[in-house]
Symmetry: C2
Subunit: 343 residues, 2 copies
């Protein structure tokens, strides 16, 4: 299968790229490196050392049988996007290429505008390029569970069968996003649904929970060169990563609000598996298919408590912490505990 991965240098994009290459697919990864630019802007960096995009592709290609193609470009550059689609003729396009941070999108007007401009217009360019050059390709677009907000009715998968005043319809599930980033994803989904409806494109919209974990079969082949990022900062760090970092640094864990708010989570490996299942089972022409993907559902207090308990066990058995870098190993162990205790 010819798989184009947009945002192939990201936390999810890079492990996905390697995984599809490892499974024997023809893989082409592109990225505009905007996340690395935002890291520089804020002076934040992942806890672990992440090689530059071209170096990690080189490291993979040096040792692995199935090579990865890559290119640094931007979905906002329509001309280059078209050249890539024309040359590569993808069958599946996995679209992670968006500004991924809700806090960043809320930090200022400039950042809200950048987020919606980059995400919405980039996605719009992609839809037009697909219509022109590969209308049969399957778009797999990454969204987030946060798009739904926290309604008082059951969250369904993108669509809702509704009865109102004695008549029925199937409508897009009404969303109530909580940041300009989440709104950008809602706008994207609306644009994509329209493109499927009028142009006959086919799309799977994957609304994910918070993804955690830094270990996959491919990363573990050569952690030093192939690692994906562990962010614990206030821009890209998600709640589990921040709790873990706080426990490991012996500082108080910060739970925002009452901590009773429940959120959906899944491991990085599960994200990749979900994407793979979607890729192997394409929707019909013209279908806008939505899946919600998560494996766990917990309140922040429950996460907090799990991290505390796990940290306590580790205090008693310090031999289970290895270096370097100790926190990374700790993190991996932590997720083993979490996975056991939650299953």
């Amino acid at each position: 299968m010819k798989v184009l991965i947009l945002g192939g240098d990201g936390y999810l994009g890079w492990p996905t790229t390697m995984h599809f290459a490892n499974e024997g697919h023809d893989v082409y990864a592109i990225d505009n490196l905007s996340k690395r630019k935002i890291e520089s802007e804020y002076g934040v960096e992942p806890l672990n050392i992440i090689k530059p995009f071209n170096e990690r592709v080189k490291a993979w290609n040096l040792n692995q049988k199935n090579k990865i193609k890559h290119y640094v470009s931007d979905l906002l550059n329509y001309k280059v996007l078209c050249e890539i689609l024309e040359e590569f003729t993808p069958e599946v396009i996995i679209h992670y290429a968006e500004q991924p941070s809700a806090p960043y999108s809320m930090a200022s007007r400039e950042k809200a505008v950048f987020t919606q401009y980059n995400n919405v217009i980039g996605n719009l360019n992609l839809l037009f390029a697909m219509k022109k050059l590969c209308p049969e390709a399957h778009l797999i677009k990454l969204g987030t569970m946060g798009e739904y907000g926290t309604p008082n009715i059951d969250i369904e998968e993108g669509w809702l069968n509704i009865e109102h005043n004695g008549r029925k319809d199937k409508v897009l599930y009404p969303k109530k996003p909580g940041s300009f980033y989440h709104l950008s994803k809602v706008h994207d989904s609306a644009n994509i649904e329209f493109a499927c409806r009028i142009w006959g494109l086919r799309c799977t919209d994957l609304n994910q929970g918070f993804v955690y974990g830094i270990s996959t079969k491919e990363i573990d082949l050569d952690y030093e060169n192939l690692a994906t990022s562990f962010h614990y900062d206030s821009i890209f760090g998600t709640v589990i990563n921040r709790f873990i970092s706080q426990v490991a640094s012996n500082i108080d864990m910060s739970v925002y609000g009452k901590g009773t708010q429940k959120r959906a989570f899944l491991n990085l490996i599960d994200t990749i598996n979900c994407v793979k299942i979607a890729a192997n089972n394409e929707p019909k022409k013209g279908e806008f298919r939505v899946f919600n993907q998560f494996t766990e559902f917990s309140s922040l207090n429950e996460i907090f408590s799990s991290v505390s308990k796990t940290a306590f066990c580790i205090d008693k058995e310090p031999h289970s912490i290895k270096t370097p870098p100790s926190l990374i190993v700790f993190t991996t162990s932590f997720f083993c505990f979490i996975k056991i205790s939650w299953t």
Copy 2:
């Protein structure tokens, strides 16, 4: 009342500007003249002669007691927008400043991108500027009934009380827009609802039917200098205007599709009245209030038939047609007929 009108040079914006000035309010109109630019680009122009923005403001100010302030600027220019809000301190902001053509937004990728960029980012700038400089002001945002699409359930006003699997919630009404222009309005509404929810802004979102008519009390004071546009082209001309022009030119009237599709319509005067009612009754702080505004609801075939019948009467009584310009007078007469026959 201090009223800022964004898009004050447009088909609706200009008559609204004059009306609020005529009612004694302190009125400031701004426009980026992008509609005139699109007219040049396509080589289309209104059937009637429309004076440049500054000339019609000059004509108004020369003869009328309550003067209009105006300025040529763009919502994409955040700095100037902030200067205007700071200087003028509006109590009501009426926001018409968007690329208004669905066919234009569908003509090419560039035009879809321009539409969503101009509308969504301009509106986002406005929200941030209001939050910073006039968080108590009342935003009246013009949307369209086309945002809802044609669902099989009753269309409500922006919100929907829903029961699903035994639980209840009030959600944003699920929309199914039919063009990238309509989508831009849906995105705008989602961004505004969020700004009301988290920043406590107050907004009235007015979803209008197709607006027709070129006569208001203020326009009729000096038609030559104060007219608003009558577009009959494929970019800005709506269905009623096109039917009228076709009848007047003695060419076949074109009904797209089966003609059974029903659409909502309202006269220009009713649009202004709706906006005025909204302005005089502001929503609560933090409220995102939605009204659907139209006075008639007809299928294209019914409109077609009304135009035919009316034209036939006029053929029999040619004395009722006055010049110059004959078509304009005909149009006004036509709407008298329509209003009578539909009430």
